[in-house]
């Protein structure tokens, strides 16, 4: 194994930094194209709660000042950049005055746990099934059953989620209906809590797996068909290698390479969560946070969540860039200007 050359590492880091910078700028610009004034929304919310607000002009001015909305755009932008670097996304306007970073810190572990775990499970199941669809030694049943199972992929997650809830939670009562952990356990590093989390996470994870494995299976199937026709697979057979060895070392090992890139891109996207899945199961993750923030026009939260998504995507692509040469010897750590 070679090590990663410093020039390559710097080059990738620069790319990472630029991506995040450009994305952060876009996140800042886009909401500002909206004609809605967040201060007015807050005022509206107060008014809705109290019936009427006295001295509303003064309060509006005060709010604008608090949120820095009076500053010139350029100053707002610079402040925003600095805050972004320090992970200070300001205060949520909807749940004023909670800091956005606190909201994210609360939601992120749940999403990371649920989504990444289900992504990894889906990745393995999907790719394995996709490979088995092509492998000539697969039992006939497998080759018929998998395409049939693909039907689930076309079911909208909201429907499959509800269906799972109805069968396993409402009827069979094997799993809890909603929430991320039981109300009776104390959150913390305890065995009871861990069991509760897993118990609660099972159905949402299953619904995500069911809905998304087809993406991997179909992609893998296409890649495997190409690899199956390669001369090295023919020669592997002529070498009298065992069929399973050929499947893993010659076919899957080569076909999986583009899927790993896709995996990296998915990691970032999944941080946004399966919004609907989180909604249905009342799972307090990033998806639900983002969903609520959009409904409430809560700019700071939208910005914060979007930034985290981009940071995760860029980071996972960065990591794949670094490890790819180790999994595919044809790719080298090379700096291409």
């Amino acid at each position: 194994m070679s090590t990663i050359p410093r020039a390559y590492l710097l080059n990738r880091l620069l790319t990472l930094f630029l991506t995040v910078f450009i994305a952060a700028t876009l996140i800042w610009i886009i909401p500002r194209l909206s004609p809605v004034d967040p201060a007015e929304i807050m005022l509206g919310r107060m008014a809705a709660g109290a019936g009427a607000v006295a001295d509303s002009e003064a309060i509006l001015a005060q709010l604008r000042q608090n949120f820095g909305l009076d500053d010139p755009l350029f100053v707002q932008y610079l402040k925003y950049l600095w805050n972004t670097v320090t992970f200070n996304f300001g205060l949520s306007t909807a749940t004023f005055p909670t800091p956005v970073s606190a909201l994210i810190a609360q939601a992120l572990p749940w999403t990371l746990g649920l989504m990444i775990l289900s992504l990894i499970i889906t990745f393995f199941i999907g790719n394995l099934l996709g490979a088995l669809m092509v492998w000539e030694k697969s039992p006939k049943l497998v080759r018929v059953a998998i395409p049939a199972a693909m039907v689930f992929t076309s079911i909208p997650p909201i429907l499959s989620g509800l269906l799972l809830m109805w069968i396993f939670a409402a009827k069979l009562r094997w799993f809890p209906l909603t929430g991320a952990y039981g109300l009776t356990v104390e959150p913390g590093w305890s065995w009871d809590f861990a069991v509760s989390v897993m118990h609660h996470g099972f159905l949402p994870a299953l619904s995500i797996v069911i809905v998304t494995f087809g993406f991997w299976a179909l992609g893998m199937r296409g890649l495997m068909i190409t690899v199956q026709g390669e001369d090295y697979v023919t020669l592997a057979k002529a070498k009298g290698l065992r069929p399973r060895y050929i499947l893993y070392k010659y076919m899957i090992r080569n076909a999986i390479l583009p899927q790993i890139t896709a995996f990296a891109l998915k990691v970032g996207l999944l941080i946004a969560g399966q919004v609907l899945v989180e909604r249905i199961f009342a799972y307090n993750g990033m998806g639900k946070l983002l969903y609520d923030a959009i409904l409430d026009q809560d700019f700071p939260v939208i910005q914060g969540v979007s930034f985290v998504i981009i940071l995760m995507t860029a980071l996972s692509v960065f990591i794949v860039d670094l490890i790819y040469p180790f999994i595919d010897p044809r790719i080298r750590h090379e700096v291409t200007s």
Binding site: D231, T234, L235, A238, K239, G240, R242, D328, P329
Partner: protein, 575 residues
């Protein structure tokens, strides 16, 4: 004792349109230590027969009758696991596409080891390492090659690895399926010598599949000629080459173009050459053009002017990596030169405006190596013919386009009713390549760049396609740049030959001089490497590879050029 005996073998491919009889009633034996050549066109059943021995027929192929016996074993009665064990240990296979026959993500030695492990169960690294080093050495490669990945090897080295793999378990029979078809002549000679050498050492029988009569003559003891799945002639190779009985064998032998031999071109020339150039302005001009990639010289600085007044064929020959295709892409404007200018009718092709550029594309057409990759598989071939014709504004009506297409097809010897309206995959390689020539003809360009136009076509068809290309010059006044590694065809078709070695011109002049009587050592090496269909002509010994390497090494150090006379209308200058 026979290593392999095949009796009355028939292989069928049942399809929805009926059963295709790929091989019918084939009987043949391969003795231990003997080399038997299977020769025939693509589709003649030679590879199918070999794959049947290994029970590796492509779906839906089936052995319909007869028997295959390897030593004492009835191969057709083996179950799957027994067959798996017989592969590599008793019968090994050296595939055609050496470029892609090795797993790209595994080191070479791992791919030698897994073969041993699958048959003997050995997983002891030291033992495996000792065996892989030994077998690599037997094919003339240092042990460190084992540590490399396939993409780090040249085509010739990859093919040697495949040979090493083929002999690592000392099988009774080796099947080599066109093992050198992707290699240039010099490498081909080395690889074939290695193969013969290791086969001799282990005493296995060898089946060599191919379509090149010269290569067969120099490599095998017996020849089996197949046509449409039937063995039409079988016997001692000297006897068959010197006194072929079957008309098809005679055709195969006579279709090999030879340096200095009879021309395969029609002696009588049709119309007198048409003057299509503009007086005083060269058709194509290189002004101190060079191409470098980093510090690698792909093409040394050179200047030439090709006058279009009298059409000519200029051949550019050399091994892979000699810079010949770089020259082609420079001429087509696909690749900007590092220095100098490429001019077409006095106009720098890098500085053309849109209208000039369109005119340039109209006047300069290309024929490439792979006739399949040149067609969009989703369209009928008509599209490929029609589209540029319409695009360049030649079309006046649908009927005229149709008529033009039919005329072009007939001009290259194709029956329009059989090829037009079909999809590329429904046509043979030869038909496709002729259609590409027909397309060029429809546009009636002034210049045609033909980059290895026949290297992927069966030997028996090469002469026909080259004849088509040659006709373009004589009948239609098109000047041609013929890029090839095949000196024999260059000898016959060209007016002037440039031999390139590592981006440098080794020898240049009229073909009778350069190829007929080479002065430069590199040209001589290329000519020595051609396998002749003549058993009395030596094709070198196992030590040739080392000598050649020394010769090439010496050549790399002095870049001297032999100028062997000139032809009017083409001036070459090196700077």
């Amino acid at each position: 004792m026979s290593a392999l005996s095949i009796t009355d073998l028939s292989i069928d491919f049942p399809t929805t349109k009926g059963v295709v009889h790929a091989v019918t009633g084939l009987s043949l034996a391969v003795a231990r230590g003997r080399r038997v050549g299977f020769i025939g066109e693509s589709g003649s059943g030679k590879t199918t027969t070999a794959l049947a021995v290994m029970q590796m027929l492509a779906e839906p192929g089936k052995v319909a009758g007869g028997s295959i016996t390897l030593g004492e074993t009835d191969m057709l009665s083996l179950n799957e696991e027994e067959m798996r064990k017989a592969r590599l240990s008793r019968v090994s296979y050296i595939p055609q596409g050496a470029m892609n026959s090795l797993n790209p993500i595994m080191r070479i030695e791992d791919q030698l080891w897994d073969g041993i492990t699958a048959h003997e169960g050995t997983t002891d690294r030291e033992q495996l390492k000792a065996r892989s080093d030994e077998v690599l050495e037997s094919v003339g490669m240092p042990a460190r090659v084992g540590q490399l990945y396939p993409h780090e090897l040249s085509g010739g080295m990859k093919q040697r690895v495949c040979i090493a793999l083929g002999v690592i378990l000392t099988p009774d029979l080796i099947i080599a399926d066109e093992p050198t078809s992707a290699l240039d002549v010099v490498t081909q000679r080395h690889v074939m010598q290695t193969l013969k050498d290791v086969q001799d050492k282990i005493g296995a029988g060898l089946i060599l599949i191919g379509h090149d009569m010269g290569l067969m003559a120099q490599s095998v003891d017996e020849l089996a000629v197949l046509k449409d799945g039937v063995l039409v002639e079988h016997g001692d190779s000297r006897q068959i080459i010197e006194n072929p009985q079957h008309p098809y064998t005679q055709e195969l032998i006579s279709s090999v173009p030879l340096v200095g031999g009879d021309s395969f071109l029609d002696a009588e020339v049709g119309a007198p050459p048409i003057n299509r150039g503009e007086p005083g302005v060269p058709l194509l001009e290189f002004k101190s053009v060079s191409k470098t990639y980093g510090n690698v010289t792909a093409l040394q600085p050179m200047s030439f002017a090709l006058d279009g007044e009298v059409p000519k064929i200029i051949s550019i020959v050399g091994q892979s990596g000699s810079g010949k295709s770089t020259m082609g892409s420079l001429m087509l404007g696909f690749n900007p030169p590092s220095t100098g200018q490429v001019l077409f009718e006095g106009q720098d092709i890098a500085k053309m405006n849109a209208a000039q550029s369109l005119e340039f594309r109209k006047q300069v057409q290309a024929v490439f190596q792979d006739p399949y990759a040149c067609f969009n598989p989703f369209y009928r071939v008509n599209h490929a013919l029609k589209f540029p014709f319409k695009q360049f504004g030649y079309a006046t009506s649908e009927a005229q386009v149709q008529e033009k297409m039919e005329e072009a097809c007939r001009a290259v010897g194709l029956d329009p009713s059989l090829v037009l309206g079909r999809y590329p995959h429904q046509l043979s390689g030869g038909q496709r390549q002729r259609l590409i020539v027909a397309r060029a003809l429809m546009l009636s360009p002034k210049l045609l760049i033909a980059d290895e136009p026949v290297s992927m076509v069966d030997a028996s068809l090469r002469a026909t396609i080259l004849k088509n290309i040659y006709d373009l010059k004589d009948r239609y006044g098109i000047s041609i740049l013929y890029i090839t590694h095949d000196l024999a065809t260059a000898y016959h078709v060209s007016d002037y030959v440039i031999v390139l070695y590592q981006g440098h011109v080794a020898e240049a002049g009229p073909p009778q001089e350069v190829i007929g009587n080479p002065k430069h050592e590199y040209t001589r090496l290329l000519i020595d490497s051609i396998p002749w269909p003549d058993l009395d002509r030596s094709w070198g010994t196992p030590s040739t590879a080392a000598e050649d390497a020394e010769r090439l090494d010496r050549l790399a150090r002095d870049n001297k050029t032999e100028f062997r006379g000139s032809v009017s209308g083409f001036d070459l200058e090196l700077s």
